[in-house]
């Protein structure tokens, strides 16, 4: 097979209208009538399975009943009581594997109540009507808590603590708060700067100060934080990414998918973004799908996702996989990256070895090679924790991630942690929000004891 000599990576692949169309809201919000009709489908189950399946235990039947009763603002309050990021979760939760998977109407007829879209209807209506903040801050307690990382876990924790009257300082390495909501989620899932609107909404409680550009281990140390504050919450996420370990990995066109998504999310003008004509994405998670989808939407002609195991093993939800396929993306299973073809410092192709499970169930290469031409290769094979900033403080780790108990308390009595950086983290916004909330309750209890 001959490898194309021209490395076709460029911006302005589409008309300006196409960019607007491609990156508009992927799920247009429900109209009021649609919301009423959908809300009427809810059976208001006893001890509802959807509520149990929600990592934040939102009282789903109650918020839907409030929509039914034309009280969307009250409905949003029910949501926010359990999940202050109910607006973002309505957009990014893989509802088909959480609440909607166990909806009795899914069991009965394969058509669950559209809980995610109803949650969005309620929370969007709340935001649009510019309601006063739904919670009141308790009298100041004089306690000070440091939160490291202004992602979903950190902000959720900060909000709950502020509600109790504590003073919270959030240290964030990046320029903006929001974490993956701001930098890591496909843009068509959160349009119109929703992530920042939600941050503003959360800060309305008062008592929370965000210090941007403060990275743990660089500008602040855990030692110092635990000395200066009554408690510390770590929601630092997974700052590193896994490498392919192949020669040529530093060539032009071989890119970390998370970086690509972050750049895209912050871009003022999408037409300025370069994308290859032929894109290969390595990985099987949500990040892989998000990177593949956005490449396609930027005008890439051929986008292939390759995954080393089978479809059933992919972390990306079935819904996300189908979304990608509907958008013309090819997903190829059972192949792992073997070598990169590089010329003039830029990637030209990637050769994959087909894989299979051997008799013992171990993934092995079959020796059969497949070469896919590529102007860009996106790596989405997992993110990694960074233990370096934790050095010197007695916080126990587990496979490089922070070990916490059920209250999200670490082995250090003044330090709690949550979100993707803790052992057993689920890589879900909603799970991070729950971690922050649970930790805040535990911190509050500990400080007020």
């Amino acid at each position: 097979m001959t490898i194309s000599e021209t490395n076709d990576v460029k911006a302005h692949r589409l008309s300006s209208e196409d960019y607007i169309e491609n990156f508009s809201d992927i799920h247009p919000p429900l109209t009021q009538h649609e919301a009423f009709v959908e809300a009427d489908r809810c059976y208001f189950c006893y001890d509802a399975p959807c509520m149990t399946a929600c990592p934040t235990s939102i009282d789903i039947p109650m918020f839907i009943r409030k929509i039914q009763a034309d009280n969307p603002v009250g409905s949003a309050k029910t949501i926010f009581e359990q999940n202050i990021m109910g607006g973002m979760c309505a957009r990014v939760c893989p509802t088909e594997t959480l609440c909607e998977e166990v909806c009795v109407r899914e069991i009965a007829e394969g058509k669950p109540v559209k809980i995610g879209l109803l949650q969005r209807y309620a929370t969007d209506t709340f935001m649009e009507r510019e309601q006063p903040h739904p919670f009141t801050r308790a009298a100041p307690t004089g306690k000070k808590i440091a939160v490291v990382g202004a992602g979903p876990a950190g902000l959720s924790c900060a909000h709950r603590l502020a509600t109790y009257g504590h003073d919270v300082t959030v240290f964030e390495a990046r320029e903006k708060a929001g974490g993956l909501n701001e930098y890591g989620i496909a843009s068509y899932k959160t349009t119109n700067d929703f992530a920042q609107d939600e941050v503003d909404f959360i800060l309305q409680i008062g008592g929370i100060t965000i210090e941007n550009g403060k990275a743990l281990g660089r500008d602040i140390t855990l030692d110092q934080l635990s000395a200066d504050f009554d408690a510390v919450f770590l929601g630092v996420g997974l700052p590193g990414v896994n490498a392919l370990g192949l020669e040529g990995e530093n060539a032009d066109g071989v890119i970390d998918a998370v970086d690509f998504i972050a750049v895209l999310r912050q871009a003022e003008d999408l037409s300025q973004l370069e994308v290859g004509r032929r894109v290969v994405v390595i990985g099987g998670g949500m990040t892989a799908i998000d990177a593949a989808m956005q490449s396609k939407l930027l005008g890439a002609e051929e986008v292939t996702v390759t995954y080393r195991r089978g479809q059933e093993h992919m972390n990306a939800s079935l819904y996300e996989q189908e979304l990608a396929q509907t958008n013309g993306i090819t997903i190829r299973h059972w192949m792992m990256p073997k070598s990169l073809a590089v010329s003039d410092g830029a990637v030209k192709a990637i050769t994959m070895e087909k894989t299979a499970l051997d008799a013992s169930g171990k993934l092995v290469g079959t020796g059969e090679m497949v070469t896919i031409e590529a102007d860009q290769v996106f790596k989405a094979i997992g993110q990694t924790p960074d233990a370096a900033p934790l050095a010197g403080v007695s916080v126990e780790l587990e496979k490089g991630r922070i070990r916490v108990d059920q209250h999200r308390r670490t082995s250090h009595s003044k330090i709690w942690a949550g979100g993707d950086c803790v052992a057993g983290g689920e890589d879900l916004t909603v799970a991070s929000v729950e971690d922050g909330k649970v930790a805040a309750e535990s911190i509050h209890k500990a400080l007020m004891a």
Partner: protein, 436 residues
Amino acid sequence: MADLSTNFLGIKSPNPFWLASAPPTDKAYNVERAFEAGWGGVVWKTLGEAGPPVVNVNGPRYGAIWGPDRRLLGLNNIELITDRDLEVNLREITEVKKRWPDRALIASIMVPCDEESWKAILPRVEDTGADGIELNFGCPHGMSERGMGAAVGQVPEYIQMVAEWCKHYSNMPVIVKLTPNITDIRYPARAAKAGGADAVSLINTISSIVSVDLDNFAPMPTIDGKGSHGGYCGPAVKPIALNMVAEIARDPETQGLPISGIGGVQTWRDAAEFIALGCGTVQVCTAAMTYGFKIVEEMAEGLSDWMDEKGYATIADFQGRAVPNVTDWQYLNLNYVTKARIDQDLCIKCGRCHIACEDTSHQAITSMVDGQRYFEVMDDECVGCNLCVNVCPVDDCITMVEMTEGSDPRTGKPIDHDYANWTTHPNNPMSKQAAE
């Protein structure tokens, strides 16, 4: 093919579906369209006395309640009788009847409650060739404030008196349309019969305030900040209508009095139920006002298909078949024992049966068995009330099953196959003791 034709007081119509006296029958244009669509008969919107016609409000006349997806469940109106000139109506009735000789055309009438007024209008209506007249003693709003409509229908003596005038001054069949806004429907029905009326039709609309505008604090529909009670109709009133029809059908004093059933008829099934309770025809308004005249096709074909399936060749074959089965509570068999049964294959585990029973009834349905979400009936607590059946969202998932042998685990009493009711029950202080 079943024969749907009816002969009601000698008035023939190709099917039992008549349009009730209401906006859909206010003028020739609408009535022609109805006949073209297949309606068996029409009761022309109520005519008033000669002279300047009544006036209607110029604001909203209707209010409603809705079910899911804005399906209209109940309609309320504050419209009065026809606001068109009597001459025009009479001329149109004459013309339409000539063009549609095979359809029933009844004229509804409401004039002041004095003999002269009725004496004046009756011959004029008779001249149109109309098949009969329906006396509007039912409208609860507007006209009742002027001593007509429900104001007459609520006084049996007046009903009898006017019915007598009508029989005296005309040769037309007389149908008395009854108001449900009374305490016991049998009294006005008996009065109609005593006055010589040939039939009754019921129910007219129910006095109602359909909703309150919480911004303006006024009843809906709101006319310049105020509202007035209206007349309620539509699917929501059908159960009330069925009961009133049944009361008249089984009252020994009115047994056999022809009835035209009205109230929430939406489909063939509703019509069949009214007919089973003794009605000779049914009258429809709200369903037509919601969906247009075409619905009569579904009604006629549905009734015909059901009759074919059941082997009923004519309407008369099943008319009144349910009347003997309507009885007083005191005669219900207290030895009849049922228990709810949940079909676990159909159960979707929503838990509504459990919480309804647990919170509001008899604590007879589990929510958890062996640590699993599982809903089953505990026979030793189940009183057989049927609430779980009614709240279950799945068709046929919960059914009531009769116990035919053994003992009722709730009471410990052996199943008794003999019939026994309250009149002979030992707890009844009025029970009649069997002779020694």
